[in-house]
Amino acid sequence: MKLSYFYEIALFVMLILLQVLLLNRISLFGLATPVLYGYFLLKLPMGRNLFFVIISAFLMGLIIDIFLNTPGMNAAAFTIVASLRKPVMDLFFEKVEYDAFVPGIYTAAGPFVRFTIFMVLLHLTLLFFIESFTLFNLMSTLLRIVTSAAITILIIITMDSLLYKRKQSEHT
């Protein structure tokens, strides 16, 4: 149990640093920016306390906002995603799976991919619409959402397969 918390805190910090120091400087074709920190919500155990999920998501969004000078935007989008996490999980995963179950590409490939796609699209849609409230036209916002989501999903699935494999080899 304690090890799992430690692992989550490390993931929390690493994802924030990765996002603000590296990923947010990427703008592929002037459109696509990977928004990877949502991976944190995907990797929390299924039965985790809902307060914990929501408050940690809010904090993560707020810290990223502070770094990116966009107060509230990431926090708002990520808190909404976090509060919808439980119903979405019930939608994609079977109810019988136990509370400590961590979604992953090797534990449940199909549901995990669908879950990832849904969560990332939800997150980026909220984020980019909050960000571009009045300034930009609909088409460019939609294009940014779709391209950014595509690259984010690709990175998440790659990362999940790599991280999990390394963990397995450590155990053996």
Partner: protein, 281 residues
């Protein structure tokens, strides 16, 4: 009653979520209209430290290019220096012959002082582009000072903390600047449409104005920048909303992708000019 309490307890996480989302939106709406809070921006100390550490690593990769730029700039300055020296010589010669009724104060007070600073963070990914610099109020930087690079205009300082400052660059939709083409006195308004960080738009220039591709775009009247600083070069005619005016796409002189060193302009007469102009308002 008990059912009500049970209901509230069972759904209290929704309550927390709604509260936090409301708080976030409060931040979105209040902050973006003021842009003056230091604690929740990258001008704060901790965020600035992280960005400085990361910049120490990344700046290494641009050393060669920065060096090249410095050499070019140095060469250009040397050229002007010699031109001025030559001119100076000729002036002294003519002076000794004639007699002047009026001699200008040759040791005049310079209007502009430049504070060199390093870029510690750049953000270009979205609508809210900004730049963080490693100098702040303790180095004499104040909000509303202009920022330039060796090549051209960069932006305007918006937030300042003791050791860091945040700059709104040309490539931010909130940025406005009056600009003109090199060979004319009519000025238009420079802004950015959010599409390409190498290209900004010069609007509201009268249609009869002659222009060519590659024309230099300079700063016009501004409280923030000196006159005749290079902004960029005309690349093509853009889409104009009004028949009487032209819109140009401007290829920006500053390359924001590799921006490393900038100069902050301290206008020593700023307060004086502002005070004088404010009397009339």
């Amino acid at each position: 009653m008990r059912h009500l309490f049970n209901f509230i307890i069972r759904n209290s996480h929704w309550l927390v979520a709604i509260l936090l989302v409301a708080l976030s939106f409060y931040l979105v709406f209040t902050h973006n209209s003021y842009q003056r809070s230091v604690y929740l921006t990258s001008a704060n100390h901790v965020a600035g430290m992280f960005y400085t550490a990361s910049d120490n690593v990344t700046s290494f990769f641009f050393l060669k290019k920065s060096n090249q730029l410095l050499l070019e700039r140095n060469a250009a300055l040397e050229k002007t220096l010699y031109a001025l020296l030559a001119e100076n010589d000729s002036v002294e010669v003519s002076d000794s012959v004639g007699m002047n009724a009026f001699v200008a104060d040759s040791a005049g007070q310079p209007q502009f002082v430049f504070i060199p600073a390093k870029v510690v963070n750049l953000s270009f990914s979205g609508v809210n582009n900004f730049i963080t610099l490693n100098k702040g109020a303790s180095n004499g930087i104040k909000p509303d000072m202009g920022v330039i690079s060796q090549r051209g205009v960069v932006g305007v300082v918006s937030n300042v903390s003791p050791n860091f400052s945040v700059v709104i660059p040309v490539i931010n939709p909130k940025f406005r600047l009056s600009a003109r083409l090199k060979n004319s006195e009519n000025y238009g308004s420079l802004s950015w449409d959010g599409k390409n960080i190498r290209v900004a738009q010069l609007q509201e220039l009268p249609r009869h104005e002659p222009f060519h591709e590659g024309d230099t775009v300079l700063t016009s009247f501004s409280r923030i920048f000196p006159k005749n600083l290079i902004i960029g070069y005309v690349s093509e005619t853009g889409v104009s909303g009004d028949d009487n005016f032209n819109t140009f796409n401007i290829h920006l002189a500053t390359d924001f992708y590799t921006l490393q060193d900038v100069l902050v302009i301290n206008d020593l007469f700023y307060e004086e000019q502002k005070a004088l102009e404010d009397i009339l308002q």
